[in-house]
């Protein structure tokens, strides 16, 4: 593939600006804002990867948060310090009980990175197996079946006490996650999903989303693109799970359930199913709105208010602007720095 240098340049400029912003934030010591920006990054990974599986292929999965849970638990078990492991998970099998991914290269927690990768790869494998079965279904039956998967994951986490402490708090996870970790992964997720969208695989995803029968008729097999989307999506979702686990440091299976699913689905639908930049915008909008509403809620003790407002906005979008803010179009941020690029093609249209 021929690399378009001006585009590459745009990516680099964008990343550089991001890096400067992060560095400034890091230096400011504003813990609150750092927390928010970390959360934004994690949700961007979640939403962009959900978009890959649900938006691009139209196979609406409600089970992705199950992958997140597996990623979180998987990597947390690997990085849990040995003393805590003995104290909290006394019945771990020996080969796991002695494992502690705490290697560093200088200040760089290589162990955390390895644990994240191992967990995410295992989850991708699980997704491959699950996908082989579930991606045969279509329409809303996929939604029900994947929701079933989410429930199954939850039941297993609840019952595999030896590994997860069941529904009791899994605590004492080392807080490795910081701004840099999250945003390196977020940029990577955006980049990968973006490249998939504009690859031939991406085109088949969209083609079979628009009309499965027609896609099959012209010889597009629906299974490979669906499966690819599902597995890559699960991989990044699991990475987000690992990052989240090492950010909040204490969690239980309840954290990774329907509330979170709905939150991410809202971000996806708001931004537009099929648009990577739309997902980023969706995350920013929903996070900002949720944060504002949370404050109103706290002051007035109107718990539930933010949930109602977000859900009403969600319904309004579904009813009046089903394709979301951007549909499957993109804001061509990789061309914003190209001379005249913004004028020539402000928005790339997929179809």
């Amino acid at each position: 593939m021929k690399i378009n240098h001006s585009r590459l340049w745009s990516w680099l400029v964008a990343i550089l600006i991001l890096a400067v912003v992060l560095a400034l934030l890091q230096a400011s010591g504003q813990a609150f804002w750092q927390g928010i920006v970390i959360n934004v990054g994690i949700f961007i990974i979640l939403t962009v990867s959900l978009n890959l599986s649900n938006g691009f292929t139209g196979v609406f999965s409600l089970g992705q948060i199950g992958f997140m849970a597996l990623g979180a638990y998987g990597s947390a078990i690997l990085t849990l310090p040995l003393r805590e492991k003995a104290e909290y998970l006394p019945r771990l099998p020996a080969w796991l009980a002695g494992v502690h991914f705490d290697f560093f290269v200088g200040p760089f927690p290589l162990g955390f990175m390895l644990a994240t990768l191992i967990a995410a790869l295992l989850v991708a494998l699980v997704a491959l197996l699950v996908g082989l079965v579930l991606m045969r279904l279509s329409g809303h039956f996929v939604a029900v079946a994947t929701l079933g998967f989410l429930v199954i994951v939850r039941v297993i986490l609840f019952n595999a006490d030896d590994f997860t402490r069941g529904s009791r708090t899994f605590s004492n996870v080392t807080p490795y996650t910081d701004l840099w970790w999250v945003w390196v992964w977020a940029v990577l997720a955006i980049y990968v999903v973006w490249r998939i969208k504009f690859s031939s695989f991406g085109r088949t995803m969209f083609a079979q989303r628009e009309d499965r029968a027609a896609a099959q008729a012209i010889g597009i097999a629906t299974m490979p693109p669906r499966l690819l989307a599902f597995v890559v999506s699960a991989f990044f979702t699991a990475v987000a799970g690992s990052l989240y686990a090492h950010f909040i440091t204490s969690f239980s299976p309840t954290v990774f359930y329907f509330d979170l699913t709905f939150r991410v689905v809202t971000m996806l639908v708001l931004g537009g199913m099929g648009s990577v930049s739309g997902s980023v915008i969706g995350v920013l909008l929903v996070m900002a709105l949720a944060e504002i509403l949370r404050r109103i809620e706290d002051v007035n003790q109107l718990y539930g208010l933010s949930g109602v407002v977000l859900a009403v906005i969600f319904i309004l979008i579904i009813v009046f602007r089903r394709e979301g803010l951007l549909g499957s179009r993109e804001i061509p941020f990789d061309r914003l720095w190209q001379k005249g690029g913004a004028n020539q093609s402000a928005v790339i249209s997929e179809q």
Binding site: V133, G139, H140, F149, N159, G304, A311, V312, I315, I318
Partner: protein, 320 residues
Amino acid sequence: MPLVYYALQQVINALSIGSLYALMAVGLAMVFGILRLINFAHGDMMMIAAYIAAFALGAKLPLPVAVVIMLGGTVAVGMLTERVAYRPLRGAPDVALLLSSFGVGQVLQNGTLLVTRLMQKPILIAFPAPEVLSGAVALGPLTVSRLNIVSLSAGVVLLVGLTLFVTRTTLGLSMRASAEDLVAARLVGIKINRVVTSAFQIAAALAAVAGLLFAVQAGQINPYMGFTPVLKAFIAAVIGGFGSIAGAVLGGFVLGALEVLLTALPGLGDLLPPGPVADFFKTFLPSSLTSYRDAFVFVALILMLLLRPNGILGKDERET
């Protein structure tokens, strides 16, 4: 013979929980049949009903009055959601309807949370169970809880009533016809909006009854109480073939039986006299397996979707 009582007790449990699932699943199936909507907010209708009943009973209203208020309120909410969130989506893709019902569910849950908050009530409120539904009755050597008896009889009465309604009345026939073939239903002059509204009314009323019974059983209610039952109702509906009323009833009872089997068998090892049989159960069906029940049930759901997407009673004519 305690083991015989154990078995009988489990049969009663299965029938009782099965009839609740059937009530829920039928509501789902009616709406699905006509609109192709998998209504995620259905469980929240149940929750709304439980809250209305709790406030009515808490205000010391007699049970029949409370039930009437509950039915009226829930049906009104059901109609409102249809008008606001589903009617504008006629003709939209399935997933849009599904997502909309998610939104509705979230609005109902958080709205309930907000309202209870404004009323200075805690999230979890105790359900003032009426006297009629508490306690146990001796049936020969068996002690059966009144709630079980009421659930089962309410289920049977309502389902028989519903069957008569959909086979004997024009509106009922119109509903079945609309579920079969929406275009043809329009062409013969059936008022689709009226049929859809009625379907939502009936679904809401059935959910309301189920909600009351669930609330009495649980003893307390919270805004999220509808989530698990609606998932179970999905399974029941899928087992029976989504969209078929008879299938939904059957699915409800099959699911009830399946669940009780999955809980009763693993427990057996503890009850049998010590010996090889008890050891067998303890080894292969330990009682800890019980808590994997929901996982098994959902695996069954997925298998069902893959192997017989139209359910036990379903026909293949929908396949297009």
